[in-house]
């Protein structure tokens, strides 16, 4: 389904979706600001007391809410315990070590704890019920349920009873035939909980080869077993099952997943090394290889830089201390890091950006974006300049970028680049409308003025005069252009 090119343009110019925009809608934002002012001006009338406000603790939870009081317990539990103990045993510090409960137990209650025979319990004991086991929940269940153990429920009834949360013994399903009928009934009943319960029973009572074989033709049940094994962490059995099913890719992924549980980087690296040989698809194998290489690099860089930083000789580390370690970070973050701290290093070192770019075949686009962000953060405008300057064979220089220059402007602006720097790149934005927007937004007067001149738009240029400072060079420039008789204005 594609429309003709012309249609498309018309479509986007038909402004259907421009009815509302998030940027540059000055009036909407100002409307909002105005309402805010209005409401705020009322504050002094209203704000005297907070009676309508929910009482909120410092963490933002309403006081009295459950989440709030849990935070309270966890933050103060130790201190409150101590507080209580000390208040109990004021003055006699030698007792402080005794837990509080000891004193609240009477001799008889201690005795009661040992007395397991219910017949010896007095009524009051049963009611006060401190140290004894509580049988109440069990007693609530109708006795009838316990009959299940002896009665012969059909597979279907068994499943139905289990669906309703009743206890059912599965022990009498002993023949393979019976077990499978039971499993099929469970699947037909749609309740995953029961399916898993039956599978737990089958897993316990069948040799694994037989279980696997039967599950191969029962996909729903198979999913349940796989999920169950994942949850309970029976990795070995899971891998056996996946191998039996010939799901080699899942075997590989499932093993690879384990690296997430390994905290020690050296061990993790070793583990990843082992993962390279796993039966991944060709594409994924190279990702795993990259993962291993990346971590290996990070370990080297980390050791080096930690040393450099603590030695305190490197200026960049003194000026911008590292906020976190580079270990286990994504590649792009690592690249940013190396563009930040190791930009000028020769390609031979592991930490140099060019080396990273080569090793991991980072696309130009991604490299430029990252390097730009890093150098702009350091306000190294010369480096930024060099990033986009290319020389052709005649020696002329030209600015080129694998990304749109509007993007470059955005990144520079976010790093508070001065207008002179910004201006240079705003000028390079190809689309006239975007260029004008950006130039106006960031006050690159030169660019705005020149663009209007090129557009031969006298009205806009005249209107722009009020946006520049009175008596400034910009105003002069506008005037001289407006007075230039050679320009054929379109309006």
């Amino acid at each position: 389904m594609s429309r003709a090119r012309g249609d498309e343009e018309e479509y986007w110019h038909s402004s259907k979706f421009r009815a509302f925009t998030f940027d540059d809608e000055d009036d909407e934002l100002s409307q909002l600001k105005e309402s805010k002012r209005a409401v705020n001006s009322l504050r002094d009338i209203v704000d005297d007391d907070d009676d309508d406000l929910e009482r909120v603790s410092w963490s933002g939870e309403p006081v009295g809410s459950i989440s709030w009081s849990i935070k309270e317990t966890s933050s103060s539990s130790t201190s409150s315990l101590e507080g209580r103990d000390s208040s109990l045993q004021k003055g006699s510090s030698s007792y402080a070590a005794f837990p509080k409960q000891v004193s609240s137990y009477s001799l008889s209650s201690l005795f009661k704890g040992r007395n397991k025979l219910p017949s010896f319990q007095s009524l009051s004991d049963a009611l006060s019920d401190t140290g004894v086991k509580n049988y109440a929940p069990e007693l609530r269940r109708p006795k009838a349920e316990y009959k299940d153990y002896s009665s012969d429920w059909s597979p279907k009834d068994t499943v139905r009873r289990m669906q309703r949360g009743k206890i059912c013994s599965l022990e009498r399903f002993r023949s393979l035939q019976d077990k499978l009928v039971l499993l099929d009934e469970a699947v037909a009943g749609h309740d995953g909980n029961v399916i898993t319960a039956v599978l737990i029973f089958l897993k316990r009572t069948l040799r694994r080869e037989i279980l696997f074989r039967e599950l191969e033709v029962r996909q729903v049940a198979l999913c349940h077993l796989i999920h169950f094994l994942k949850e309970t962490g029976e990795q070995k059995l899971l891998l056996d099952l996946l191998r039996f099913l010939d799901r080699t890719e899942e075997v590989a992924l499932s093993q690879y997943r384990e690296h997430l549980n390994i905290q020690d980087v050296e061990k993790r690296r070793e583990f990843l090394k082992g993962c390279i040989g796993l039966p991944f698809s060709a594409e994924d194998t190279s990702h795993i290889q990259d993962h291993y290489t990346l971590l290996e690099r990070q370990i080297i860089i980390e050791a080096n830089d930690r040393h450099l930083e603590s030695a305190g000789q490197s200026e960049i580390f003194r000026k911008y201390p590292r906020k976190a370690s580079i270990l286990n970070m994504p590649l792009v973050t690592t690249l940013f890091y190396s563009c930040f701290y190791h930009y000028t290093e020769a390609e031979g070192t592991f930490s140099s950006p060019t080396n990273l770019k080569k090793t991991f075949k980072i696309p130009d686009k991604q490299y430029v974006l990252t390097a730009l962000a890093a150098r702009a953060k350091l306000r190294a405008w010369d480096d930024v300049d060099a990033l986009f300057t290319t020389k052709n064979w005649l020696g002329y220089t030209k600015k080129k970028a694998p990304i749109g220059f509007h993007r470059v402007v955005e990144i520079l602006q976010r790093n508070n680049a001065p207008v002179q720097v910004l201006q240079e790149y705003v000028r390079l934005v190809e689309d006239v409308e975007t260029r004008l927007n950006l130039a106006t937004k960031y006050k690159c007067h030169d660019v705005v003025i020149e663009t209007y001149r090129d557009l031969k738009d006298r009205i806009q240029l005249t209107a722009y005069k009020c946006k520049v400072e009175r008596g400034s060079a910009d105003e002069e420039k506008i005037n001289s252009i407006l007075n230039n008789m050679q320009i054929r204005w379109k309006n």
Partner: protein, 636 residues
């Protein structure tokens, strides 16, 4: 609120009952362990619990201290521990460790586990294996449904999506069936049940099975819920993957609405503290702007603040008596409104700031091109740049999934290059994420000759079972090349508008996506229940013919084939009365579209959680899969 804008609308059912039931049952369970006890609560149960109970209720029932279930050992000195948990294996191990540690040190305590909403056999198995079965007592807290608002009820099952769609585990189907049973017993009997998808079908069957057994006495009662629609998320991933531009959706994108409430940070409150705010129909400001396109919100808020100012100004020139009246009667309301207004204005500012910083504009444009099938190359390179710049990892995945769904998979070359760059930008372990997304059919690679992805064949198979009517046709056409294109053409999901799409007075539901796409799930409901303004089909013994293909039949008690179906939905006052103005005046369209307004969400996964563990395939968030996306889908 959903109903308030329509004078002919029936009363909304009282969903407060659900809360009261849950609370009473919890209290009952707590009392099964008499005496003082410490309560350990699973982190993701805390917010739901906050909605139905508070600390003082727990204290009344002798809960001494509250702890979060987490991996460090509990420093408590209490004699009784109660654990309020989800049925999770790792939580069982946590509890078993506590019990075993106590045993080792000769400490005797009583332990009780309360599972919400139900316990699993696998959990008991773990307790048995760890040797603590019998040391702990187990109970179930059947907390299936939590009303988040007057017209949204959520099951709050964060694992549902992953368990069912990724792992193929059916363990939550029983919970869904029980939730249906509960709804049916309180507000039923249901008129008809419609559904799309395998999970919907299984839930329906299990529910019928449960009903058969427990013949209730709902006979002759006036049903409060008319029809039920069960839909699998995978029939309509696209809706969940698009950026919404209505206020509530943007609030969710920016601040995350969790369990119906949101944390507004210091930048919104213009003070040094954050405030937790419930966002629902009770919030008089929010309820008027939640469904409005973001661009209409400013105007509304400024009008509102001007009114407020005028109200305050009336004080001047009042005599003592009038002043007294003013203070005692109006001031409180005005203060409340003032507080809400300044919060929502603050939120708007924050949203604006965030959205202008990102290139939201460009992103929306890319999304729209994908939906329409234009400029695919351009959108692909937008996504690429998004990845290269390490902008939000979930957003990048969301866009890739949208590209995959609309284009029926990525061209192999693009797939490889985007994947490589993604791994380089966000970490190599996302290899696992890609594998998971592929398995779910969310992010796939086109292969020569392939016509159906897993998801699509699942859908079409079910529906073609009893092929009939327009929708079925549409689903059938899924079998052809670009399935998304076919289905959106058939059902008119992408509005063709001449000139400008009027976002302030929209003509269709597509305004939630700036006029780019009508949510499929909502469209289907609209097909069955025509919107106000269109004469309804006469009450027919069976559902509108166009939808029979996916109908499994009426619930027996309500539908003797000839009997008139119970009619909950408001009848239009006249065929030509579209757009009854809502209280805000501007929300007519939104009001109109909210005829069918109760929504029950099965899952509202918790993003934060998923984002921390992307390799777990948790990245579907946004994805509408995105959990918290609940309130974001338009509330039809």
């Amino acid at each position: 609120m959903a109903f308030a804008g329509r004078r002919d609308a029936p009363e909304a059912p009282d969903f407060g009952i659900l809360k009261r039931l849950a609370r009473d049952q919890l209290i009952y369970l707590l009392e099964q362990l008499p005496g003082k006890k410490d309560l350990f609560i699973e982190a993701d149960l805390m917010s739901p619990l906050d909605r139905i109970a508070n600390v003082s209720i727990l204290k009344q029932h002798e809960v001494d201290k509250l702890y979060k279930v987490e991996s460090r050992p509990a420093p408590s000195s209490s004699d009784q521990f109660c654990f309020l948990v989800r049925p999770r294996i790792r939580t069982m191990r946590y509890i078993a460790d506590i019990v075993n540690a106590d045993k080792m040190s000769g400490r005797s305590r009583k332990y009780k586990i309360i599972f919400s909403p139900q316990k699993f056999y696998a959990c008991e198995m773990v307790l048995e294996e760890e040797g603590v079965f019998g040391d702990v007592t187990c109970d179930e807290w059947s907390f299936y449904l939590l009303p988040l608002d007057e017209d949204i009820i959520s099951m709050e099952l964060p694992e549902f999506f992953r368990d069912y769609f990724l792992e193929g585990d059916h363990r939550w189907i029983n919970s869904i069936a029980r939730a249906l049973q509960l709804l049916n017993s309180l507000y039923g009997p249901f008129g008809k049940v419609y559904g799309i998808g395998r999970c919907a079908k299984m839930s329906y069957e299990l529910w019928r099975d449960l009903e058969e057994e427990s013949e209730g006495d709902s006979q002759g009662r006036k049903p409060e819920i008319g029809n039920i629609f069960l839909m699998d998320r995978d029939t309509d991933y696209v809706t969940a993957l698009c950026s919404q531009v209505v206020y509530e959706g943007l609030v969710d994108d920016t601040f995350r609405i969790k369990c119906g409430s949101v944390d507004f940070g210091p930048d919104v409150t213009s003070s040094d503290k954050s405030i937790k705010v419930l966002l629902n129909a009770q919030d008089k400001v929010f309820s008027q702007i939640r469904n409005e396109h973001f661009s209409s919100v400013f105007g509304f808020l400024s009008q509102k603040s001007r009114n407020l100012q005028a109200q305050y100004d009336r004080r001047r020139g009042m005599d003592i008596k009038q002043m007294k009246n003013f203070v005692s009667q109006e001031l409180k309301g005005l203060k409340q409104e003032h507080r809400l207004l300044s919060l929502h204005i603050g939120a708007c500012e924050s949203i604006m700031k965030k959205k202008t910083k990102q290139d939201f504009q460009e992103m929306i444009k890319a999304e729209h091109s994908l939906l329409e099938g234009f400029d695919i190359r351009e959108s692909t390179s937008f996504i690429e740049e998004h990845i290269d710049r390490q902008v939000s990892p979930t957003e990048s995945l969301r866009l890739m999934c949208l590209l995959s769904l609309t284009e029926n998979g990525l061209v192999p070359k693009d797939y490889r290059s985007l994947k490589t760059q993604y791994l380089q930008s966000y970490g190599p372990e996302h290899l696992l994420t890609f594998h998971n997304l592929k398995r779910m059919g969310l992010l796939t690679e086109q292969s020569a000759g392939e016509t159906l992805t897993a998801v699509e064949s699942k859908v079409s198979k079910l529906v073609t079972d009893r092929a009939a009517g327009k929708i079925t046709d549409a689903f059938n056409s899924l079998a052809r090349k670009s399935n998304f294109r076919a289905i959106s053409k058939k059902l008119g999901l992408i509005p063709r508008v001449d000139g400008e799409y009027d976002l302030k007075m929209p003509r269709d539901m597509a305004y939630v996506f700036s006029g780019a796409y009508v949510p499929l799930s909502c469209k289907i409901i609209e097909q069955v229940r025509p919107p106000i303004g269109v004469p309804p089909p006469c009450v027919s013994p069976c559902a509108p013919a166009s939808f029979q293909g996916v109908r499994w039949g009426p619930s027996p008690r309500a539908g003797a084939p000839a009997g008139p179906e119970p009619e909950l939905l408001p009848r239009p006052p006249g065929a030509g009365a579209p757009g009854l103005a809502g209280p805000g005046g501007g929300g007519a369209a939104a009001q109109r579209q909210r005829v069918l307004s109760l929504r029950v969400q099965v899952h509202l996964p918790d993003h934060g959680h998923h984002q921390q563990r992307p390799h777990d395939g948790g990245h579907h968030r946004g994805q509408g899969v995105r959990p918290g996306r609940g309130p974001q889908t338009p509330r039809q």
